[in-house]
C-alpha cells in the first residue's frame, strides 16, 4: 500500500514539475515575442522619420542626390525585410546609409543650424538608441529562452511540446561589419 502511495506521490510531483516547466517556457516565449515587437515598433518609427528628414534636407543638398537616393532605397528594402536575420542585415545597411547622410549634413552650416533638422536628428538619434536598447533587451531574453530549451531537463519538455529556439538580432553579414564608421555627430 505504502509503495503505491509513494509512486502516486512521485507521479503527481512529476506532473506538477512538467506543468511548471512548460509554463515557464511559455512565459519566456511570450517575453521574447514582446521583445521582438518592441524592436519592430522602433524600426517602424525610424522608417516613418526618414522621408521627413529627406524632404527637409533635399532642397539644400542638391549635390548629394545620390546619398539621399541610397537612404530611401535602404529604407524601402528594410521595410520589406522578412525574418529576424534579414531585418537585422537590412536595418544595418540603413544605419550606414543614414550615418553617411549625417556626416554630409555636417558640411552644410545652413542645415546644421536648422531647427527642423536638429529636431529630426535628435529624433533619429533617439530612435537608433531605442533600436539598439530594444535589440539588447530582445537578445538577452531570447538567449534566456534558448538556453532554457537546451539545458537538461528543459530540453525534454521543449522537444515534447515543440518549442523552437529563436534567432538573435545580430549582424550576420561579414561585409556589413567591415563598413568603416564615418565621423558621427551622433552617438551610435
Amino acid at each position: 500500500m505504502t509503495a503505491i502511495y509513494i509512486l502516486v506521490g512521485v507521479a503527481i510531483l512529476g506532473i506538477l514539475w512538467v506543468i511548471a516547466k512548460y509554463n515557464s517556457l511559455v512565459t519566456l516565449r511570450n517575453q521574447t515575442i514582446n521583445g521582438w515587437k518592441q524592436i519592430d515598433v522602433q524600426l517602424k518609427r525610424r522608417h516613418d522619420l526618414i522621408p521627413n528628414l529627406v524632404n527637409t534636407v533635399k532642397g539644400m543638398m542638391e549635390f548629394e542626390q545620390d546619398t539621399l537616393e541610397k537612404v530611401i532605397q535602404a529604407r524601402n528594402a528594410a521595410i520589406s525585410a522578412r525574418g529576424v536575420a534579414d531585418a537585422a542585415a537590412k536595418e544595418d545597411m540603413l544605419t550606414s546609409a543614414l550615418t553617411k547622410l549625417f556626416a554630409l549634413v555636417e558640411n552644410y552650416p545652413n542645415l546644421k543650424s536648422n531647427e527642423n533638422v536638429k529636431q529630426l536628428q535628435e529624433e533619429l538619434t533617439s530612435t537608433e538608441n531605442k533600436i539598439s536598447f530594444a535589440r539588447q533587451f530582445y537578445n538577452d531574453i531570447a538567449t534566456t529562452f534558448n538556453t532554457a530549451q537546451q539545458v537538461f531537463p528543459g530540453n525534454v519538455i521543449a522537444s515534447l511540446f515543440g518549442f523552437q529556439p529563436v534567432e538573435l538580432f545580430e549582424i550576420t553579414n561579414e561585409a556589413e561589419r567591415a563598413v568603416p564608421t564615418v565621423n558621427l555627430s551622433l552617438k551610435k
Binding site: E123, S126, F137
Partner: protein
C-alpha cells in the same frame, strides 16, 4: 545575461530589497514601540503589562505606521511639490530630448515609463521617487539638462531607472518616513522628560524596583540614541544603493563612462541644490545639501554621508569600463 562584472541578478536584487525593507521596518517598529513604552511607564508608573494602559505605545506605533503609509501613498507627490518640480514640456527641444532618453532607458530596462519632471534650479541634480515601478517619477534639475551632454544625461537617467527597478524608491521612502517618526517621537519624549510627567511614579515605585530602573535607563538611552542610530542606518542603506544603481546603470547603457563623466560634472558644480529639501537628500544622485562630505573619503565621510564619495563611484565606473573594453563588444 552574462556581464563582465559581478552583480546580483535583478530578481534576486528586487527580492533582497523587499526583504531588507521588511527587516529595517522591524528595527524601526522596535525603536518606535520602545519610545512609546517608555512614555507609558514614565507617565503611568507601571512596569509590567497590566499595570498601565499602553496608550503611548499605541500612539507611537500609530505615528510610525501612519507616516510610512502616508509617505507611500502621497510622499512622491509631496517630494515633487516641495522641490517645485513641473512636468516636462514636449514642445521644448531640451525637454523632448530628456523624454527621448527616458524612453530609451525604459526600453533597455523593460519597465513602464515613469512620469518625468523638471526642477527649475541651476544646480545639476536628479532623483527618482514613487512606491513601485508602475507609479514612479524621475525629476531632474534644469541645471542638469544645461550642463550634461546626451551621453552623460543618459547615464544619470539610467542610474535613476535602476533605483526604480531595484525598488530602492520604495525602500528609501519608507525609511525616510520612519526616521522622521523616530525623530519626532524622541523629541516629544525629551520634552516630556524636561517639563513634567511622572506624577504617579511613587505609588508603584516599590513594586517596580530594579526592573523599573533598568527599563528606565534603557528608555533614556534609546531616546538619546534612536535618532542617531536610525539616521546612520538610513544613510548606510542609501550609500549601498548608490553603488548598486551605478552598476545597474552601466548594465543598462553599456557605457559606464557616460555616468562617470556626469558625476564628475555634478561634483564640480558643488553648489547646494536649493530647491531640494533635506528630507529628499537620500533620493538624489548627488547630495543636494552641498556638504563637502560626499567629496571626501575616510571613515567619518563614509558614516555620515547619504552618498558614497563621488571619487570612489567614478573609480568603480571606470573599472567597469575597463572590463567592458576587454570583453568582446556587445553586438550593436
Amino acid at each position: 545575461m552574462s556581464l563582465p562584472y559581478q552583480t546580483r541578478n535583478i530578481y534576486e536584487q528586487q527580492a533582497h530589497n523587499k526583504r531588507l525593507t521588511l527587516v529595517i521596518m522591524c528595527v524601526f517598529v522596535l525603536f518606535i514601540a520602545l519610545l512609546g513604552l517608555g512614555f507609558d511607564m514614565y507617565l503611568q508608573g507601571g512596569v509590567l503589562p497590566g499595570q498601565f494602559l499602553p496608550v503611548g505605545t499605541a500612539a507611537a506605533l500609530a505615528v510610525g505606521f501612519g507616516s510610512s503609509f502616508w509617505s507611500l501613498q502621497r510622499g512622491a507627490k509631496a517630494v515633487l511639490a516641495s522641490a517645485g518640480a513641473v512636468p516636462v514640456d514636449e514642445t521644448n527641444p531640451q525637454h523632448k530630448q530628456l523624454l527621448n532618453i527616458v524612453d530609451e532607458m525604459t526600453i533597455a530596462s523593460g519597465l513602464p515609463r515613469p512620469a518625468v519632471y523638471v526642477i527649475p534650479d541651476p544646480d545639476p541634480n536628479a532623483f527618482a521617487t514613487g512606491k513601485n515601478p508602475q507609479e514612479s517619477s524621475i525629476a531632474v534639475t534644469q541645471g542638469l539638462l544645461d550642463s550634461l551632454n546626451r551621453e552623460e544625461l543618459q547615464g544619470v537617467i539610467a542610474h535613476e531607472m535602476s533605483h526604480i527597478r531595484n525598488y530602492d524608491i520604495r525602500l528609501m521612502t519608507v525609511i525616510a518616513a520612519l526616521v522622521g517618526a523616530v525623530l519626532l517621537l524622541s523629541d516629544w519624549a525629551r520634552r516630556m522628560m524636561m517639563y513634567g510627567g511622572g506624577k504617579k511614579r511613587d505609588r508603584n515605585s516599590k513594586e517596580a524596583g530594579q526592573l523599573g530602573l533598568i527599563l528606565l535607563i534603557v528608555w533614556l538611552v534609546s531616546i538619546i540614541l534612536a535618532p542617531i542610530v536610525s539616521q546612520l542606518l538610513a544613510m548606510a542603506v542609501s550609500r549601498k544603493r548608490e553603488y548598486l544603481a551605478d552598476a545597474s546603470a552601466a548594465e543598462l547603457t553599456r557605457n559606464p563612462l557616460g555616468l562617470a563623466s556626469a558625476l564628475r560634472k555634478i561634483e564640480n558644480a558643488a553648489a547646494p541644490t536649493a530647491s531640494i529639501k533635506r528630507g529628499a537628500a537620500h533620493l538624489c544622485i548627488a547630495d543636494p545639501l552641498g556638504k563637502k562630505v560626499n567629496t571626501k573619503e575616510g571613515f567619518v565621510a563614509e558614516l555620515f554621508g547619504t552618498h558614497p564619495p563621488i571619487e570612489k563611484r567614478i573609480m568603480a565606473l571606470q573599472a567597469m569600463a575597463y572590463q567592458f573594453q576587454r570583453q568582446p563588444e556587445p553586438t550593436h
